[in-house]
Amino acid sequence: MVEEPVVIAYFKKLFANPADTRMGRIDGAEVEIKGELCPRKGKKDQVFLYGKMTDGRLSALKFMCALCDPHMFVAADILCILAVGRDKDGVSGLGEKEFNELLGGESPEGYEHFQRARELLVLGMLGQKKIA
């Protein structure tokens, strides 16, 4: 994996504007799932997703990343923007084009992380709580 400036720029922006972040918990979330999504080099990161559901669609979505690399923070944040208002199928259909638009450029590694986070969310919407 290589360091991608577009990802780092987004990552810095994420932490420069705390009020504008999707990071955190949602109390009483219907969707609540955690997963180890980057099990590389024995590293045990954890991604947490918390979602509120209204009529089968996500009305709010937040995330927390523990011991993750910048790509996962960025991917999870973009997912939290894109997934709101969508049902399970709508979330499954989110692709690279939408991801790149919000990222402001292309990042194959970032999209790979996005795909993992997206799958985690879908499992969460199906009621699963944890994946290893």
């Binding site: 780092i8 990552f11 810095k12 932490f15 955190g24 947490f48 995330f63 523990a66 690399d69 790509h71």
Partner: protein, 444 residues
């Protein structure tokens, strides 16, 4: 007595070079290096008298017996025990603690107290006893705001448990942050525990204290202490359990849980085995003779170097590194603010959501190793429970913030020059990470 800095010469592993640089070994809380005298003792056993001990009477066996007796005596002297029969050889600290946990004759209402930041080896054995119903429960004594043992909290819990406390098992020095429980506090713990709980024991997990400072079991008045020889210049696979003679000899209080060869004087097909007196009743089966004999060499090596001098040297190194690391505002040190209270351990984390740009990039510990041969440790140091208990604290810094912990730990062979190399390497690495944001408005 030769100057402490001359002992470095006796460690052959410190003389090798990689990339034209000497090693800087700062992983001593996990495992220490071995001096030539310990290597020689191991080799001598296998070369000259590789026989069994305390069983046979022949030429080779007599040398093993002699080596074992000398080793037991060296450890007696090192910790100030009354008798060498109070010294039980085990595999390591973990086994020593388990041996006591499994051997005590528990009562249904018994309560076990530990601190809230114990190594898993001084947590799981007691939790397991409670889970299996041997004792009633395990409780953790909350540390103070600087992660030090809190005597007031201890007294509160002691009062709440109203005479049911049977075991107080405390990490003497923390492998997480180096904080020590002062001798005066331990004596007070012993006094209060025994006054309010007749028949209770006080146990010290001394894995991070005996190798680094003078520990006198008679002065402290504790019933048990456990430590590992691999953390004190000795071989791997040898631990020591000290048990106060009166306790070890009381059949009503403690009974060996591993029994068999070496533990019994006599057996019958019908009837109960007749056990040896301690320590042999607690040392089942053929032992790690090479290891135990070499362990004796390690104990004598430390006695000669002087535990007080080692403690002072480690404090000096910790003060120096703490001072150097103050120049990095994005770096936080775990444990007491005063480095003199952290003995030879300095654990730290960065106030950054990530410590590398990509998963494949080497982390700080790997960069230290690759660039400067500096060996430190990363992880949770077998204190997962502390880490989980602090998740709420970390969340206050940033939701989901889980710092990567790093630990540098020193010993008698480390030098102030090595501290300088470490600090310089840290500056270089942190400069590369300036593009990664720093939490809490701290300028990186």
């Amino acid at each position: 007595m030769k100057p402490l800095n001359e002992y470095r010469e006796e460690f052959p592993s410190l003389k090798q070079k990689r990339n034209d640089k000497l090693p800087i070994y700062f992983d001593n809380a996990c495992m220490t290096l071995k001096p030539q005298v310990v290597i020689d003792a191991t080799l001598e056993y296998y070369t000259k008298y590789p026989a069994c001990g305390e069983r046979s009477t022949h030429w080779f066996a007599a040398q093993v017996d002699d080596g074992l007796a000398k080793s037991r005596e060296a450890f007696r002297e090192l910790i100030g025990a009354k008798s060498k029969n109070e010294i039980i050889f085990t595999k390591n600290t973990t086994e020593s603690i388990n041996l006591v946990a499994q051997s005590i004759k528990w009562r249904p209402k018994d309560v076990v107290l530990t601190t809230d930041k114990e190594h898993n080896s001084n947590l799981c054995p007691w939790q397991e006893m409670a889970k299996r119903g041997f004792c009633a429960k395990h409780r953790a004594i909350p540390s103070d705001s600087q992660s030090r043992f809190d005597l007031d909290n201890f007294q509160k819990i002691l009062a709440e448990e109203a005479g049911n406390v049977r075991m107080v098992s405390l990490g003497h020095a923390s492998n997480l942050d180096g904080s020590n429980i002062p001798s005066a506090t331990i004596k007070e713990v012993v006094k209060l525990t025994k006054e309010q709980n007749p028949g209770a024991f006080v146990f010290l997990d001394a894995a991070q204290s005996v190798p680094h400072k003078k520990v006198d079991v008679l002065d402290l008045g504790v019933d048990f202490i456990a430590f590992s020889v691999h953390k004190m210049c000795g071989p791997t696979g040898v631990g020591v359990l000290y048990g106060r003679g009166e306790v070890l000899n009381s059949e009503m209080v403690i009974h060996p849980f591993i029994v068999g060869g070496g533990t019994v004087e006599d057996t019958y097909l019908l009837g109960h085995p007749q056990y040896f007196k301690p320590p042999h009743k607690f040392e089942a089966g053929l032992q790690n003779y090479a290891g135990i004999i070499a362990a004796g060499a390690a104990a004598n090596f430390l006695l000669e170097a002087g535990p007080e001098r080692i403690a002072e040297h480690e404090r000096t190194l910790n003060v120096a590194l703490t001072e150097r690391l103050r120049e990095f505002p994005e770096l936080r040190i775990l444990g007491p603010e005063d480095p003199e209270e952290r003995s030879g351990i300095l654990s730290f984390y960065l106030l950054k959501p990530a410590t590398r740009f990509t998963d494949d990039e080497p982390d700080i510990d790997e960069k230290m190793d690759q660039r400067a041969n500096i060996m430190i440790r990363k992880g949770t140091f077998c204190v997962h429970s502390w880490y989980h208990e602090h998740e709420k604290v970390f969340d206050q810094l940033w939701p989901g913030f889980r710092p990567t912990l790093f630990r540098a730990s020193f010993y008698l062979y480390n030098t102030l020059e090595e501290i300088e190399v470490f600090a310089d390497a840290m500056r270089e690495i942190l400069a590369e990470l300036t593009d990664l944001p720093t939490l809490g408005g701290v300028d990186g």
